[in-house]
Amino acid sequence: MASLIPCPHCGTRPRQEFSVRGDATPVRPAPMAADEVWNDYMHVRANPRGRIREHWQHIAGCRRWLVVERDNFTHEVFSVSDASLEQGGAR
């Protein structure tokens, strides 16, 4: 991951073509959800060591937002998918 990212649309491309935003797990709550729910979404992160899901954008390629599922200690990538296709993800 830290050198190359397999973009589902463009193929494997160097990391320089991508930008990273952060944790892809939090889901934007309903507008009227409780304060704690919004606080969790905005500010609180599980931040585990190991398998994580992270938002990246292929900024110098297809410009799609991607969910990269990977290990944040070994940097092994398990999957990369288009964020808009995520089921139960960050919707």
């Binding site: 990391r15 990273v20 599980a46 994580i52 944040n72």
Partner: protein, 416 residues
């Protein structure tokens, strides 16, 4: 034993065989008044000040590796108090004042070298920003100077004045800023704490936090259960993992920051210099290596290593700022795991769990904070309330809407 030129002379005549260990290697006792998780700079400083200033003597520091194995031993050693926001500036200035007496305080030469930090700026809006920052410093009584291009040309003739994509138009100087020998800070606090009776327990990883009726009563470790009245976390990049053991979820993401050192050179760069058209910063160590870095790699990471793309970017910024670095060779790259907070500023606070105290969110600026972080954390643990310079560094400031966002980029940790 006390360190001095005389002790060196005396011991040298005895073949240097009489030196005593800098600290004991104690086995954990069953119970302590305070256990501090993390034997890095902040944890050791907390233990030292708790014992020295607040009369708590029954303290243990538990460290999963060796003392100083975290970020205190893998940073770029910069010490400064050139912050802008009222939540930060008094705290970092308090820290710098502690630095200025640290060698005598600890009887350990941490080699504080107040070489001055120069923050370059390259356009009018950056100049305005640094003016605001410089005036904020001066409001707090911290001396700052604005340097124009001609002054900089005389002071730092090696900067890129003639062929810069983003011309240098000036810089903000804090003369009292500088560098310190990072390992020595950990060792100095460790030795100081040990001499005050603090148990420094190395190779002791916390595997669980025991709670009874919601109250923390001790930690499970690889050396068994250790009980305590108060538990204080100073675990930097591993904060979330330790916090999780007590069911805490925190406003922290762990990221890797790379740092670099060149081969040793005769003195050629006097100050700490930071680049305004990028994130590059550089200084020269007493040993002669140019120590430098720039931005974090940007992705979540618990690995103490970075990637080549970021390294290349750092070098690009370096030669853009100082073209003469081009033929200088980089010796070594390393990485530290940063506890990036949601607003780029730290947290020293109680937690919703009784007897559990939190010190984290140092991002990549924790080294300079070491003494004040230790002092203020000790103050909080001992007195149950925040030290006045750390009052804004609250855990609940995000949900209450009081972020301390020096970069003005919001709640995305990798942008800070």
């Amino acid at each position: 034993m006390r360190y001095s030129a005389f002790s060196i002379f005396k011991q040298a005549l005895a073949g240097n065989l009489g030196w005593k260990p800098a600290w004991r290697e104690p086995q954990p006792k069953p119970h302590y008044d305070v256990i501090i998780v993390g034997g890095g700079g902040h944890g050791l400083a907390t233990a030292y000040y708790l014992a020295k200033e607040f009369g708590v003597r029954n303290i243990a520091v538990v460290e999963k590796g060796y003392l100083g194995s975290g970020n205190v031993g893998r940073n770029t050693t910069i010490v400064r108090s050139n912050y802008m926001l009222p939540g930060n500036e008094p705290f970092y200035e308090f820290s710098l004042k502690l630095w200025e007496g640290l060698e005598q305080e600890l009887n350990y030469n941490v080699m504080l070298s107040q070489r001055g930090i120069i923050s370059l700026y390259h356009n009018d809006s950056q100049r305005d920003h640094y003016t605001r920052r410089g005036n904020a410093m001066m409001m707090e009584g911290v001396a700052a100077e604005q340097l124009d291009r001609d002054t900089l040309k005389k002071m730092l003739p090696f900067l890129n004045f003639d062929h810069a994509r983003f011309p240098i138009i000036g810089g903000l100087l804090q003369k009292r800023a500088g560098t310190a020998r990072h390992d020595a800070v950990a060792w100095g606090f460790a030795r100081g704490a040990d001499r005050l009776g603090v148990d420094l327990i190395q190779n002791c990883e916390v595997t669980g936090i025991r709670r009874e009726s919601g109250v923390v009563t001790g930690v499970e470790t690889t050396k068994g259960f250790i009980g305590c009245n108060k538990l204080a976390l100073a675990a930097a990049g591993n904060t979330s993992r330790v916090g999780e053991m007590a069911g805490l979820k925190l406003p922290i993401e762990s990221h890797v920051l790379q740092a670099f050192v060149t081969e040793g050179l005769k003195p050629c760069i006097d100050h700490v210099i930071t680049y305004g058209a990028g994130h590059f910063y550089i200084s020269q160590s007493d040993k002669g290596g140019l120590v430098f870095g720039a931005e974090i790699d940007g992705y979540s990471s618990y690995a103490q290593r970075g990637n080549l793309a970021t390294a290349e970017h750092v070098m690009e910024e370096g030669v853009t700022m100082i073209p003469g670095l081009s033929r200088v060779r980089v010796l070594r790259a390393w990485g530290g795991v940063m506890d990036m907070s949601m607003d780029g500023s730290p947290i020293i606070d109680r937690t919703p769990i009784d007897n559990l105290y939190l010190n984290c969110g140092w991002c990549y600026g924790g080294f300079k904070a070491t003494p004040a972080s230790g002092f203020c954390f000790a103050y909080l643990i001992a007195k149950g309330e925040s030290h006045h310079v750390a009052r804004a560094l609250r855990l609940d400031r995000f949900e209450r809407g009081f972020p301390i966002d020096e970069a003005g980029v919001g709640t995305q940790p990798n942008l800070h």
